[in-house]
Symmetry: C2
Subunit: 209 residues, 2 copies
C-alpha cells in the first residue's frame, strides 16, 4: 500500500515526525566524524551525514551545517583554524561515534574514549581507529539564505587509508574497510555489495567489474 | 599497512585514478534516479549520488550537478520546467538505473525499459518500480565558483512511499524498502542494519531503539 504525503501534510506533521521523515528521504548517507581543534588546544569530534563530493580536480569536499544560531564547535573551529579531518566510522565504534553528538562542554574524544591521532604535522586530530582518514583545509563558506544552513567547502590535503582497500584504478572498497553508512538521523548500517558495473554506453550491455 | 596520499600525489595521479579515488572519499552516498520532462514532452532519467538533505522545515533537498559545460538534460529540464522527481533504486533495477547514465539522445525510460509513472498531476515522471518517489519543485540555484558545479535547491512537494516502511515516529526503513546506496562512481550496495540508537546525552548510555 502506497502512502502519499503532500507538502501540506508534511508541514502540518509533528516537528519530530517531520524531522525524522525528511532526513530519510534522500537515502543512505555518508557518515564522517569531523575532528577539529580550536586555538586554545581543545579538540572536538562530531558526526556528520551531509558531507559530499564537490570535485576531483582539484579534490574538494562540501559539508552542510545546521544554521549557526547556537554554539556549533565544529563549524566555529573550522572557521577559526582553517583545518578539519573526516574520519570514516566502523561497526567497532559507531556507538561512540553517535555519542559524540551529545552536548559535551569539553572534548568528545575524552568523553567517549575515542583516541585522538595526529599525522603529518596536521593541526586537526584524526580518530585513530578509523580505516579512512582525510585531512582538509578550509576553502570557502556561505550561508544558504533559503534556510540559514552553512555550506563549507574544503580542499583535501591528505588521505590515510588501509592499502588493501585501494584498487588499481583508484577505487576504494568501502565494504572491505568496514565503513558505516547512516539513514535518517540515527540508524547505522554496513554496506552489502551488489556489484560494481562497467561504464554505461548506449546499446552496450553492462558487465560486472 | 596504511597508505598516505598527500594533495600533490592526488593531483599528479592519472585523472581516471583520481576521479575514482576522490569520489569514494566521503563514504557511501545516496542514490536517486532524477526524473524530468522537458517542455517538448521528452522525458529524461539519470542517476545522481550528490542529492542531500538541506532542511526539514520547510522540506528542502539539494543536488550538486557537474559543471554545465556540456549538455546536461536533467539540469536543463529542471531550469526550464521547474519540476523533477527523486526515485530510490532497488536491487531489482540498479543495473538499468546505472545504464540511464549512458549518453542517450532520447528518453532513458524507453532506452532501459524502466516504466514512467505520473502521479497527482505532477509534471515530471516517476519510476514506477521505485519504493520511494519524491516530487520536487525548483527553488533556487547557484554556480559554485570554486569549480563550476551547480547547486540546485528544491522544495519537496509530494512523497509516495510504501506504508509498511514508515515507522510511527516518521522514520523510513530503507533496508525494508530495499533502497540501494552507491560508493564511488559505480559500485552498488544494499544496507545491512547495525542498529538504530537513542538520542545521545552526556553521561547517559545509548539504547537500541
Amino acid at each position: 500500500m502506497i502512502k502519499h504525503f503532500d507538502k501540506q501534510s508534511i508541514l502540518e506533521a509533528d516537528p519530530s515526525f517531520r524531522r525524522n521523515f525528511v532526513n530519510c528521504l534522500s537515502g543512505y548517507k555518508s557518515l564522517n566524524l569531523i575532528g577539529t581543534k580550536n586555538n586554545a588546544g581543545v579538540s572536538n569530534l562530531s558526526p556528520f551525514s551531509q558531507v559530499f563530493h564537490i570535485g576531483a580536480s582539484p579534490p574538494l569536499v562540501g559539508i552542510l551545517f545546521r544554521p549557526h544560531t547556537v554554539v556549533r564547535h565544529t563549524l566555529e573551529n573550522i572557521l577559526e583554524t582553517g583545518f578539519f579531518t573526516l574520519n570514516h566510522v566502523t561497526k567497532d565504534f559507531y556507538k561512540e561515534a553517535h555519542q559524540t553528538a551529545a552536548n559535551y562542554e569539553g572534548s568528545e574524544f575524552e568523553a567517549t574514549g575515542l583516541k585522538e591521532e595526529y599525522l603529518s604535522g596536521f593541526h586537526a586530530p584524526f580518530v585513530e581507529m578509523s580505516p579512512m582518514k582525510i585531512a582538509c583545509s578550509y576553502s570557502e563558506h556561505q550561508t544558504l539564505k533559503i534556510n540559514g544552513t552553512v555550506l563549507i567547502i574544503g580542499a583535501i590535503e591528505h588521505v590515510f587509508v588501509k592499502e588493501e582497500g585501494i584498487k588499481a584504478d583508484g577505487f576504494l572498497d568501502l565494504d572491505f574497510l568496514g565503513t558505516v553508512t547512516v539513514s535518517g538521523l540515527d540508524e547505522y548500517h554496513l554496506g552489502k555489495k551488489l556489484s560494481r558495473l562497467s561504464y554505461p554506453k548506449p546499446g552496450k550491455g553492462l558487465t560486472e567489474i
